[in-house]
Amino acid sequence: MRDASPAKTYALHIGVIALLFALNFVLPDYHQGLFARIMTLAVFAMGYNLLFGYVGLLSLGHAMFFSAGLYGAGLTVYHLGWGVPEAFVAGVACGALLALVIGLLALRTSGVAFMIVTMMFAQVFYLLILYFAAWTGGDQGLVIQQASRVIAIGGASFDLTNATVRYMSALALFSIILLVTLAVVRSRFGRVLVAIRENEERTKMLGYDTVANKLAAVVASGAICAASGAAYALLFGYVGSGFASVQYSILPLLWVLLGGAATTLGPLIGTLFMYYVTDITSGFTSAYLLIVGVALILLVLFFPKGILGSIRERWLGWLP
């Protein structure tokens, strides 16, 4: 942050949240549903960005944290009949706990070894889901019935299958995580994380236990990704092993790279961009992945720091 101006920064973030709120009332049904999905998955991207963008740790296994939340919430609803709030908390707790264990083991490595170790753990997680198909539904997955996806608060009840309730729930989660991320990266802890990314050896010589700080970041990242997974299960009613596959470890990396690593709003922009490029091109041709690929290559060539990262570098140095 070259020009620290908290007022401008907070105004921008509140403005983005307000814009997303307003969009609920103008978007056609189809796009309203798509936006709810994008906001939920942008939370996944924000969790990934905390570790990749700010700490500089490239994980290829974040699908396991997303699906820990997905299954943590989905299975407690499906098998134990838990309510929505309890199931959500269970999902986040599963992700945080898993991240703590994986972090303790994987942080003994760095660089390429860290990528491989996280990828292997995620693969183990994926295979465990298939192995315990009796509970998880295996590759068929489980559908969570509408009746289980209703939140009762006092006399009122909110049906998460209702388009507006779903949109607002996704927006609420997105807003909380966005503001939490912003607060974290502006905090003392955030400053230490960036210092570790820039030069870990130097950070140690300033008196910081870098391993403990990295572990805290892995747990925070895992918990945020699990919150996204738990919300996905509860809002869209489907829990499946596909979300634990390697594809879902690569996707958040792509979203973050596209939007701009180490920018607070980059994950949203990257997720939004990827979803709409895929959506629009698949309307024209069945070879839409080819076009997506070309778009990605062009972006990396001309905007190596991602959309928001390049904007920050060229014009708006104050963006967090």
Binding site: M1, R2, D3, R188, R191, V192, V194, A195, E198, N199, E201, R202, T203, K204, M205, L206, G207, Y208, D209, T210
Partner: protein
């Protein structure tokens, strides 16, 4: 008076190379000590053993009465052993402010200082004459300013022992004069141990000088004694000035 830091039989071997070989060393509180010696004499390895960046093969390090031989580097920093790097290693992509904020917030978290991050940072930057560059990215500062920033970071750690590894390397003559004044000021509340090649700087600053050669202490004494020492003349001074 009890020494602030002592080493007993401190050694570090890299394969067959005895980089530091059975060194007994003592540093009194408040002194400015210079370590000199030819290239490859083991000076940087020795101070790296003191700061904890590398582990000794044998021997022990005692700081303020307690054995810190097995203590990781970050904990030694919290005890008050600060180290500034030989090769400038400020955080190039962070502002000068953020560079100094990292050590300041560390001492605040540990309860070694009170107050706000901002005022602590600005105090350290003012002391090194960098206050007007607070918002600049460290990587865009001139080389001399980066060295000063490195010192500001060391100062902000509130060290009891500040280890400076070739601090005047790459500084212009005009900057060196300011630097000498700065070290004298630092030495009012901290002990300073510096590795230095620039002999005029060593002679002006140091209370005592330790001469290293082949991983061992060759001689130790006041600047006058070292200047007069024939062995040192042969091993080092003669070679440099001859």
């Amino acid at each position: 008076m009890m020494p602030l830091l002592t080493t007993k039989g401190l050694s570090r071997h890299f394969g067959g190379l005895r980089a530091v070989d059975g060194v007994d060393f003592a540093l009194m509180p408040g002194e400015i000590r210079a370590i000199i010696g030819p290239n490859g004499a083991g000076k940087t390895t020795f101070v790296s053993l003191l700061s904890g960046r590398i582990r000794p093969s044998s021997g022990m390090v005692v700081f303020d009465g307690s054995d810190i031989t097995a203590m990781p580097a970050y904990k030694r920093v919290r005890l008050g052993v600060a180290y500034t790097f030989q090769i400038t290693s400020v955080f190039a992509n962070l502002t000068a402010f953020d560079n100094v904020a990292l050590p300041v917030q560390r001492t605040l978290t540990d309860g070694r200082t009170n107050g706000q991050v901002r005022s602590g940072v600005m105090a350290a930057l003012e002391r090194t004459g960098l206050a007007d560059r607070a918002g600049a990215l460290a990587g865009q500062l001139s080389y001399g300013h980066q060295r000063l920033l490195e010192v500001a970071m060391g100062l902000a750690l509130k060290p009891r022992l500040l280890i400076l590894d070739e601090p005047t390397q790459g500084l212009a003559d005009s900057e060196i004069d300011n630097f000498i004044m700065l070290v004298r000021e630092i030495a009012r509340d901290a002990t300073v141990l510096l590795i230095e090649h620039n002999m005029p700087v060593v002679m002006q600053l140091a209370d005592r000088i330790t001469v290293f050669n082949s991983g061992k202490i060759l001689a130790e004494g006041t600047p006058g004694e070292i200047r007069a020492n024939a062995e040192v003349q042969d091993a080092y001074l003669g070679a440099t000035h001859g």
